[in-house]
């Protein structure tokens, strides 16, 4: 370092000289820069829209393999027969036509800054945003293979699996046992297994009252636990939760016997819903942004990967510290990432963000509960800001629960409209 202070003018001159050495950017074509967003769920869909909104001069291309997106939030309602799967389905026709490419990404070259599409063509980028979602760890639970998931659905990626679990519940005779296996942290949608158990219990209570639901859990604590357990005591005496310290951790499954095995017993099920261990989705793997945990380490202010430069990772796949893996989190992270990407392309310093998450869960169709959190980067991670957030009151009257259920519906309509139009 020179002892002489660099003047602003000199700094700008040297910065300009430095820029000339970089690979030819899209600025040469008259545009501001080029961003590819790979993965069109809640994270990717939001990010593509917001980059364009923040700086319309940036060329944004959203790459998504499936023409129809099936939303996970509220899909437990489909399983319980409260909702049609079509209410979960969204397309990309409301995006600008030149903005969406319906193709899988087959390769990412972080050095050459290109994404290869299904037809072999390459999309160059200045910055890439990945919103890979999750994949099932098929090596994570002995006996639980892709074939096993046809008998014991996970239904943790909405779509055909959701419908399969629904059909199994419909076909089950009154008096049957539904066993749900909940994984250890981290996993997509921390309150999800308990909302699902609640809504299945609701379906059974109204249609097959002699049946029961057992949750075998690899944890001793879970999201909104006291709210759920209070509600279960009143609403669902046939719902049983077996915690880790009560021997609830499922160590293998026996599909032939329709049995879930723990260290201390075997649980025979008429319907088995195995929510297996998970990892970042495949697009994280092809871009080399997942670490040995299976998830993607990121900078907490910009969501830029710690493993690959100019690549950002948002949503369930990212290691987002205190933020849960939820659609709301993905949406909030996408907006922060969009702002950061726009600043970085403009050569400016990104702002320090604040992030919010809210997760609603339905215990019954007219019984909603929620958890909120506000977050910021601290010590290289995303941390909850002390004194913010919280959960629904434990002693709230039924009218409040009913109101929260309507808020939950409103939230779903708002977020899906924001992302998919």
């Amino acid at each position: 370092m020179s002892a002489k202070r660099t003047s602003r003018r000199e700094f700008l001159k040297s910065a300009a000289a430095g820029a000339a050495l970089l690979p030819l950017p899209a600025i040469a074509q008259g545009a501001r820069g080029r961003v590819v967003v790979l993965g069109g769920g809640f994270g990717g869909g939001t990010c593509a829209r917001f980059i364009k909104r923040i700086d319309p001069r940036i060329t944004v291309t959203l790459v998504e393999a499936n023409p129809t997106f099936v939303a996970c939030p509220f899909s437990n309602g489909v399983i319980a027969g409260l909702r049609d799967i079509r209410a979960q389905e969204f397309g990309y026709d409301k995006f600008a036509g030149d903005q969406v490419v319906l193709s899988p990404g087959t390769a990412v070259d972080p050095q050459g800054r290109t994404v290869t599409l299904g037809n072999g063509s390459q999309l160059p980028y200045d910055r890439l945003v990945l919103s890979p979602g999750i994949d099932i760890r098929w090596d994570g639970l002995p006996g639980y293979t892709e074939a096993a998931a046809e008998r014991m659905p996970h239904a943790w990626k909405a779509g055909e699996q959701t419908l399969l679990l629904r059909r199994q519940l419909e076909a089950m005779e009154d008096g049957g046992t539904v066993v749900i296996s909940a994984p250890a942290n981290p996993f997509r949608c921390p309150p999800g297994p308990y909302e699902r158990a609640s809504l299945i219990a609701y379906y059974l209570k109204t249609k097959k009252p002699k049946s029961k639901v057992i949750i075998l859990d690899a944890k001793d604590a879970f999201s909104k636990q006291r709210l759920f357990q209070n509600a279960w005591r009143t609403l669902y005496p046939n719902l049983e939760w077996v915690s880790l310290s009560n021997g609830g951790k499922v160590t293998s499954v026996d599909v032939g016997e329709m049995t879930l095995v723990t260290d201390f017993g075997r649980h025979k099920a008429e319907v088995a819903n195995v929510i297996p261990p998970q990892k970042a989705g495949r697009n994280a793997e092809i871009a080399g942004v997942a670490d040995r945990t299976g998830w993607c380490p990121i900078d907490p202010a910009t969501f830029e990967s710690k493993l690959q430069p100019n690549v950002h990772v948002i949503g369930d796949a990212s290691i987002a510290g205190a933020m849960p893996k939820s659609a709301f989190s993905a949406n909030a992270q996408a907006k922060v990432c969009a702002a950061a990407v726009a600043k970085l392309i403009a050569g400016e310093r990104p702002d320090e963000p604040r992030l919010i998450n809210t997760c609603y869960s339905l215990v019954a169709p007219d019984y909603g509960i929620s958890v909120e959190g506000v977050y910021r980067p601290a010590d290289g991670q995303i941390k909850e800001i002390e004194g913010t957030g919280g959960v629904s009151a434990l002693d709230a009257p039924n009218s409040t629960r009913a109101l929260e259920a309507t808020f939950a519906n409103a939230w779903f309509n708002t977020i899906t409209t924001e992302v998919f139009g």
Partner: protein, 106 residues
């Protein structure tokens, strides 16, 4: 009485190596954590675990503050004869818990 779970195969062949699994509910409070007022919460841990096979000790463990809540211990032994496996956990503040299960060896 703390809740304990035991998994021992009910039947085994003579000479067979069998796996024994135990899990007991216990906070395993380290003694290093402060409470709301800043005072340390007193240590409360299980310190000793013993398994006996027809009265003869076959496995023993000492436990320390770094061991997580609800200690899960698993170990192996050779099935020699039919009888009883007994388990005893002892610890701070006079903590004591016992369990026993039968095994039939052919």
């Amino acid at each position: 009485m703390a809740r304990a779970l035991i998994n021992v195969p009910p039947k085994a062949k003579r000479g067979e190596v069998i796996e024994i699994k135990t899990l007991i509910s216990h906070t395993m409070e380290t003694g290093f954590r402060p409470d709301n007022t800043g005072k340390p919460i007193p240590r409360d841990i299980i310190t000793d675990f013993v398994c006996k096979y027809n009265g003869q000790e076959i496995f023993r463990a000492e436990l320390f503050p770094a061991i997580a809540a609800n200690p899960f211990l698993t170990f192996f032994t050779v099935a020699t004869e039919s009888g009883t496996l007994s388990f005893e956990w002892t610890g701070d503040s006079g903590f004591s818990a016992t369990e026993s299960v039968n095994i039939s060896v052919e």
